[in-house]
């Protein structure tokens, strides 16, 4: 019997299981988040790189400025102010460059990296200050040693000299201990000191020798120098001979000046009064002078006087004016012409001799000054008026120069001569009003010259610190008290009295 096949359904399957991606899970959202994150990372990296570059730039700029500041501060002569000045500048520079960085984190990075640089620079300044202080101590020590050495050289007694030498040793020892001087510096200073002391000793010795020789051969320079040259050699010989010549020159000049003054007074007496030949013989004149005086008296007896256009005057004048013979005529004694030329001619020739003499001292400066006041010495125009003005200017300058040299104790330097000539020009312009304003506004004078006051007296007054106004007020006070014609000494004393009384000058 056939079998009918039986069918049974297989296991049911309703389809695969669902997954998140089937029901709205979006991978894109996560990708977006990652992308944004990456953009943020990139922006952060770029920003940090930007800030880092600003930090580097700030460090470079600040370092350069700090270095410049260090150099500028090092040039400040006030050593004590240098560190404060650098600290102020350092603060300003660091602050300014720090502000170019916007974030605190990188500002801190700037601070960290700049700290070492600014500290090194600050220490450099400090080191410079220390070095400058040591240099200053060094300079002060060497200056004081030089001064003490001079004092030791000039000391009157050995005890005093020894005291100065002890002080020098103390100063040098202290400077070496503090590091201001090296041992080499000290040795060099001591060598200089010894050399100066030896030179000073040589000067003292030469003075003593010169004194002895003058005592041995009074008034005989030839014998004195011969003895000096036979006894000494080298620098000692030179010093002694130079000293003997100086002294002899001073003595001869004084004798000549005295003789000349006496001769001038006798000539004046012979020209003007009832001077007799007996008085002339008793006047102790030399032969030439006596002959001149007697000639004057003879001319007087014969009724003749000096001629205004005498041959002797013009010979002498031409001789002085000619550069070839100027030196020869400068050496001649003008007094021998007395009686043959007028007193005014005598004065002119004396000025001309002085004019030639002046050419030896700053000739160009004097000529420039003369040009400024329109008295150019090279001018070809012959004008008696100008020549007299030129002589007056030269005489005043010469007088002022001699006073200045006397006050200073040594020859004038170029700038000092300039100053003196400035005063002379101002003085000239004051007196010769017609020259005022021609060459622009007058320069401010070094000191004012009062009415009726010469440049020499004004220079003397100004050197005492008394103004022209104060001087005039003092004169007015003296006049008010009955002294109509006070001397310079009286005015000076009256000024001192007024000052001590508390007088209020205008």
């Amino acid at each position: 019997m056939p079998r009918i096949p039986r069918v049974i359904a297989s296991a049911a399957s309703l389809g695969r299981r669902a997954q998140a991606v089937d029901l709205g899970f979006d991978q894109g959202a996560q990708a977006q988040a990652r992308a944004i994150d990456e953009v943020g990372e990139a922006a952060n990296a770029l920003f940090e790189a930007d800030e880092d570059a600003l930090v580097s730039k700030g460090i470079q700029g600040a370092s350069t400025e700090l270095n410049d500041l260090r150099i500028a501060v090092g040039e400040n002569p006030d050593i004590d102010a240098r560190e404060g000045q650098f600290a102020d500048g350092q603060r300003e520079i660091l602050s300014r460059h720090r502000e170019t960085i916007s974030t605190v984190r990188f500002q801190n990075s700037f601070d960290d990296r700049m700290f070492a640089i600014s500290e090194r620079t600050r220490l450099g300044v400090k080191e410079g200050v220390t070095r400058s202080r040591l240099d200053q101590i060094r300079a002060n020590t060497l200056t004081s040693v030089a001064g003490l050495t001079t004092l030791a050289g000039e000391a009157d007694s050995d005890d005093l000299r020894q005291e100065y030498l002890t002080q020098i040793d103390t100063a040098l020892g202290g400077a070496v201990s503090s590091g201001a001087l090296t041992a080499t510096d000290r040795a060099q200073a001591e060598i200089r000191r010894d050399a100066e002391l030896a030179a000073a000793q040589e000067v003292r010795d030469s003075q003593a020798v010169a004194d002895d020789l003058e005592a041995q051969f009074p008034g005989d320079l030839a014998a004195q120098t011969k003895a000096a040259r036979s006894q000494f050699s080298g620098s000692m010989e030179d010093l002694v001979v130079a000293r003997l010549k100086d002294r002899n020159g001073i003595a001869v000049t004084a004798q000549r000046q005295a003789r000349q003054a006496k001769f001038e007074s006798v000539v004046n007496l012979a020209l003007g009064g009832d001077y007799t030949r007996v008085e002339a013989l008793k006047a102790d004149l030399d032969v030439g002078q006596l002959s001149t005086v007697l000639g004057i008296l003879d001319d007087k007896d014969r009724g003749k006087g000096p001629q205004a256009d005498s041959e002797e005057y013009w010979d002498f004048y031409n001789g002085l004016s000619n550069p070839a013979t100027a030196e020869e005529f400068r050496q001649k004694d003008l007094n021998l012409l007395a009686g043959k030329i007028t007193p005014k001619q005598m004065s002119q020739l004396r000025d001309l001799q002085l004019e030639v003499d002046l050419l030896d001292v700053f000739p160009k400066k004097v000529d420039e000054a003369l040009s400024i006041i329109k008295l150019d010495p090279s001018s070809t125009k012959k004008s008696k008026d100008k020549r007299e003005q030129r002589q007056l200017f030269r005489r005043n300058v010469q007088a002022a120069k001699e006073l200045a040299v006397q006050q200073k104790g040594s020859p004038l330097t170029g700038p000092e001569m300039d100053e003196l000539l400035d005063v002379g020009i101002t003085d000239h312009n004051k007196r010769e009003g017609k020259f005022l304003g021609i060459f622009g506004p007058p320069q401010a004078p070094r000191f004012t010259i009062g009415p009726g006051e010469g440049v020499t007296a004004a220079a003397r007054r100004a050197s005492d610190g008394i103004s022209a106004d104060q001087w005039q007020q003092t004169i007015a006070e003296l006049e008010a008290s009955g002294n109509e014609d006070p001397t310079e000494a009286e005015i000076r004393q009256a000024y001192a009295d007024l000052v001590s009384e508390g007088f209020e000058f205008r």
């Binding site: 039986r6 049974i8 359904a9 296991a11 049911a12 399957s13 309703l14 389809g15 299981r17 669902a18 997954q19 998140a20 991606v21 089937d22 029901l23 709205g24 899970f25 979006d26 959202a29 996560q30 977006q32 988040a33 990652r34 944004i36 994150d37 953009v39 943020g40 990372e41 922006a43 952060n44 770029l46 920003f47 940090e48 930007d50 800030e51 502000e99 916007s102 974030t103 605190v104 984190r105 500002q107």
Partner: protein, 146 residues
Amino acid sequence: MGAILQGLAIGAPIASGIFQARAFELETKAVASAARFNAAIGLEEAQIEAARQRRIARRTLATGRVAVGASGVTFEGSPLAFAMDQAAELERNAVNVEIAGRNTAALDLARATNVRSAGRRRSGAALLSGLTESAFRGRALRIGRG
């Protein structure tokens, strides 16, 4: 330029956190929906399978009774006990299939619930992470005068 870069660097983590949170939310919803869907399908499949098992059981028991009747043996005593045991085993199979389907569906439903709460936490964490990163960068790159 520097300010734009600075703004991007500080703002990007927040934006990234927001997008990340949104992505987690979408994923959570999708996973939960899939779990619920799978639970329903699993339960239905189990019921169908249990029904099929019972049909197989009925046919097996009928075949047995026919074979016993054809042999001349009465369907009482040991043959009956044997058939009863067989019927019980076959029913147990069907019930097991039903239980397995219910358990799987229950697990899927539980998964859907858990995934939802885990998704909320991940979204919150992403937002917090973005904020933290932005705050960190903001502090690191803050504009300063001191």
